[in-house]
Symmetry: C2
Subunit: 202 residues, 2 copies
């Protein structure tokens, strides 16, 4: 089993190696990776060791080959379809962001309960009424951007639609079956932690 | 020195205790905290031990007292002024979010370089031209929501304006002086990690 902190660093290595590739760099050392990511060179070598041997002794790491391997591990070459729940400020910002497509990610549905929003366009999609659910959706990922007080019920509805992984922005702990992958992004927490470090440096 | 994972859990305890207080619960056990936050009861006790003695032997933790102590530790009672850099989709969603005010956080300025946006209203603020900087801003926190390719130069400009802490959404590593607190929120990484766990459960 690969430790979670290692998984969390893989996208950073991927982005960093993509920059090297863009600049036609063929081979990099772990020290160069360290400088660009702010992580330790020994950490980079250790993280990669979970996935097999990559470096060429005395030379370094072949950029293209390593990029393909990480893309394979993270399944970045595959297409991932996702549904957005909550067409509010944050939902709209996520839907409009072109960067997600680089990771093979595509929004295919967006749901809301606001009668004034249903039927409107958001990006290339038309906002659907959440009351039309549950039905099986051809998506594996759900983005939860509804108000916190309806987070739980909406997440249970997502699971009834066949969604297996949820990116949860509501700051609420979701109680879902074990097999559902949940990733919590809490912007309020991030701010509170920033303030703590600002004051404690003070 | 308090470990970073402990600091990162404090807002979760604060939110959980606030719920208990709202429901007029006077005393809670660490087990009840564990159920509501999804964290281990032993972790809660260990985290609190860094800040002194809180529990009453055999009774539990007094909710109001503990809330005040955590608010004090996290400086949540103080007002924190912040400037937003980048009045785009994400910046607008952050600025419109009422939840930040609960943590004493207030946007006082918003800067952009788009001539069509400068002078427009965003919430209660008027978008200012970033070309008017540097000047000393009466803010301690900066939110960085500009495109990745101008992240570095914009962050250096923020530091010249007296900003001491930056919440960075650009996914770019910032190279700033040691005394500047940086917190990186990378939504693309979160998505990539979610996909990895979805596939590896596969
Ligand atoms: N905007 C931010 O910067 C920010 C920061 C921290 C946390 N959050 C969290 O992210 C979530 C979204 O925030 P936001 O700023 O976009 O809020 P918002 O109010 O702008 O959007 C919420 C959307 O959800 C819809 N909605 C309400 N009930 C629904 C239901 N039962 N089913 C489907 N849709 C429903 C609303 O009609 C609205 O369009 C919230 O949980 C919020 O606490 C947002
Ligand atoms: N929207 C998302 O869901 C999302 C997801 C992941 C990462 N991000 C990152 O967050 C940041 C903001 O994303 P967004 O979706 O709001 O982008 P956006 O393009 O909607 O907004 C960027 C804003 O920055 C302004 N800007 C450009 N150059 C500037 C400069 N030199 N000085 C000041 N302002 C400048 C633009 O005029 C625009 O208003 C980007 O770095 C993006 O990579 C956003």
């Amino acid at each position: 089993k690969i430790p979670e902190p290692t998984i969390e660093r893989l996208p950073l290595y991927f982005r960093c190696l993509s920059e090297f590739k863009k600049n036609d760099v063929a081979i990099v050392s772990s020290e160069e990776i360290a400088v660009h990511t702010g992580l330790k060179a020994s950490q980079f070598r250790k993280d990669l060791s979970y996935f097999g041997e990559f470096g060429i002794q005395g030379l370094g790491y072949p950029v293209s080959h390593l990029l393909d391997r990480i893309a394979g591990i993270m399944q970045l070459n595959k297409k991932h379809r996702a549904a957005l729940f909550g067409a509010g400020n944050l939902g709209a910002a996520l839907l409009h962001y072109p960067g997600f497509a680089n990771w093979g990610f595509k929004f295919t549905n967006v749901f809301d309960n606001d009668a004034e929003k249903v039927g409107q366009k958001l990006g290339e999609l038309t906002i659907e009424n959440i009351a039309s659910l549950p039905r099986m959706l051809d998506v594996s990922i759900g983005i939860l951007a509804v108000p916190a007080n309806v987070a739980d019920e909406t997440s249970r509805l997502m699971v009834k639609c066949g969604i297996k992984a949820i990116l949860n922005f509501t700051g609420t702990k979701l109680s879902l079956p074990e097999d559902i992958v949940i990733r919590n992004v809490d912007l309020t927490n991030e701010l509170a932690i920033l303030i703590y470090y600002l004051i404690s440096r003070g």
